[in-house]
Amino acid sequence: MSGFRVRALCAVIAVAGGLVLSLRGQTVVESSFAILQNVGLTAIDEGVIRDESHTPASEQMVRKRALLAALSTDRVSASGARYRSDRLIVKFRDEAAMGDRKAALRAASSTGEFGTRASYADFDIVRLDASEDPEMVAQALQGRPEVQYAQAAYRVHATLIPNDPEYATLQWNLPLVNLEKAWDIQPLAGSTITVAVIDTGMAYQNATITATIPSFRDGAGIRYPALGKVTIPYSGAPQLVGAGNAGRIVAPYDVISAGVNPPLDFEGHGTHVSGTIGQLTNDAIGTAGVAFNVKLMPVKVLASTWDVLFGGASSEGGSDDDVARGIRYAADNGAKILNMSLGSSGPPNCGTNPNQVDCAPVIEAAMRYAVGKGCFIVVSAGNEFEDTVPPYGTNPTSVLAEIASRISGVVSVAAVDRAKAHAYYSSAGPYVELSAPGGSERGFGRDGFVWQQTFDYNFTDTFLLPPAQYRAPRFDVLATIGYIGTSMAAPHVSGIAAMLMQQGITDPAAIEDILEKTAVDLGTPGRDNTFGFGLVDARAALRGLGLAK
């Protein structure tokens, strides 16, 4: 029996033992599934995995997307955007009386009912019957004088393209943004700053999960059997919270369950992004992070396939209201940098006409609120440069990045490859403000990926296996995995921004100005639609300016 299997067997036995003990002594969080926090073993760290493939066109990714579509209850707009079928986001004007609000809603919808206002929301969620189209109701409400904005709850998604790893050339990305010299300037690397990772959650603690997993059919109609009640081990990422660093986690919050569940990552994206921001460094293990001493705030707004199968979410991804609440939560709970490696496609002119399909005024309002509280926000620019999204065509506008470009203190970040060239997938447009390493396999193979520790998909994405091999996942096996995407570019900027804030630059608009002024100009001289102001330069930003130079 290999060492790994022995460790795995020990882990299962220990988790089971711990579960028995904990069931006697702890309160199980009431939810659609149960998470026993801090009950579980330390993760198994496999190191670098060289043979894992999740390219965008790979069989795994195609099947995963099909499975998501099969599990989803979302509606799809004429533009192709997915939005939640059971709700609508409405922001009434402050002066509108409750009676007028109800009258406006009755005029626009026959089934709409106000829900209890969710935490960290300055807007209302209107519950709708499945027979009504939220987009149509939103359009009816938009013309009313009582309404500031109304929109469907469009889905946002993580902007990652996971891919194969290669150990020999790990982390070309950090020298590319001049980080080694930046660490000389600021060896504290952001120790007093909290970075909120608004994402799929984070592997920030050990836990034991009990869930009843029902049967389902994938995108091809193939039935997967129910797994019944299973016990699933979950471990915090050693390179985020290991070696006594659990204290760096600040105010974790799961927006999807309104704080009922801990924001554990069942997908891997948020953990990978967090690693780029603040992976433990100088510990002779694994990879490094940009601002390796920052405090991390996991804010879960994107659900994964397992969230859906566990019964904790209705569909994968998040919706605009979830993201808006996540932004407000982070701003209200001490985060100073907000990383948003997520996005959605929409029209290019939401700034002048926010009452259009696919625009997200609720997120814009939340961003402005957060910036007003001193938060600097980083948004990935999108991965759709080569994609065609009807009716917006190829390289559609990334809605969140476009909002970012209109708010001083919020930046949108495109991706470059290891040769500082445009990464083939990185969305381009007038909204692109900065560039950072996002990686690319084209021309570089595995050498071109951005590497960080996250879950080994072989143990988590078991729903991609044939039904006969389908089994419960386990989230205690982590490895150094290569991803590409603007999701990977954004956290570079978030980490550098955290170091800038630690350096004393507390104004979000000033941070944006500095990052843009010190960026290394790429492409067409001056700002351009591909690279924005250029490749972020950590040393130049942190070193500041003299009188004459």
Partner: protein, 210 residues
């Protein structure tokens, strides 16, 4: 020591200034202390927290027939502050030490007025040009990061010299200088839109000679 004693004795025994005929050509060394308020106020405030600084130096005046004069002077200013950012009027100092040194070498020509009622007071005006050396060094610099340059500028000044002794005068004047080409193309000065390394200075000179 012997020379100093003889010089002091000579000064003490010298006839009163009014009793002297001015020589046709007088070469007069001087020492100078200057307080300058830099024109680039935002730039200097961002880096040093203030805009008024002392210079120290000296020079030589050549006076012809007690009226026309040519003066060459050199002085030096050196100050350590912090690298900084300026954004919409807000200053963010980064805690990274920066030392700036300004070394003006100025040549001026001017005219000394004479008042019959106050022969010991000699007002003067002058104008000229200068060569201004500027160095900027700071921590974490790499080759090419620090600045060492010299650019030309112009000066005008006016003041008065008070003859306190046959061989010693004290002069006070106000000088305006304008120095372009050093500030304004990069750094905080570019953010501030300031390109003049000159400013308004109050100078005090101790002049030795007739």
């Amino acid at each position: 020591m012997k020379t100093t004693v003889l010089l002091v004795i000579g000064l003490v025994l010298a006839a009163p200034v009014l009793a002297q005929d001015p020589p046709p050509l007088s070469i007069r060394p001087f020492a100078m202390a200057t307080g300058q308020s830099f024109a680039a106020t935002q730039t200097f405030n961002a880096t040093f927290g203030k805009t008024f600084f002392p210079f120290f130096g000296g020079g030589v005046q050549v006076v012809v027939h007690d009226t026309f004069f040519v003066e060459i002077s050199a002085s030096r200013f050196r100050q350590t502050g912090q690298r900084a950012y300026l954004n919409l009027g807000k200053v963010f100092q980064l805690g990274i030490p920066l030392t700036a040194t300004v070394t003006p070498v100025e040549v001026t020509g001017g005219y000394r007025f004479r008042f019959k009622k106050f022969p010991a007071v000699r007002p003067y005006v002058a104008a000229g040009f200068g060569s201004y050396g500027y160095t900027e060094t700071s921590s974490f610099a790499e080759p090419g990061d620090d600045v060492s340059t010299r650019h030309a500028g112009f000066v005008v000044n006016g003041g008065a010299e008070f003859r306190v002794h046959r061989w010693v005068g004290i002069a006070g004047d106000v000088q305006y200088s304008h120095v372009s080409g050093i500030l304004g193309t990069a750094g905080v000065s570019q953010q501030a839109g300031e390109s003049d390394l000159g400013g308004i200075a109050a100078r005090v000179k101790v002049v030795v000679g007739r």
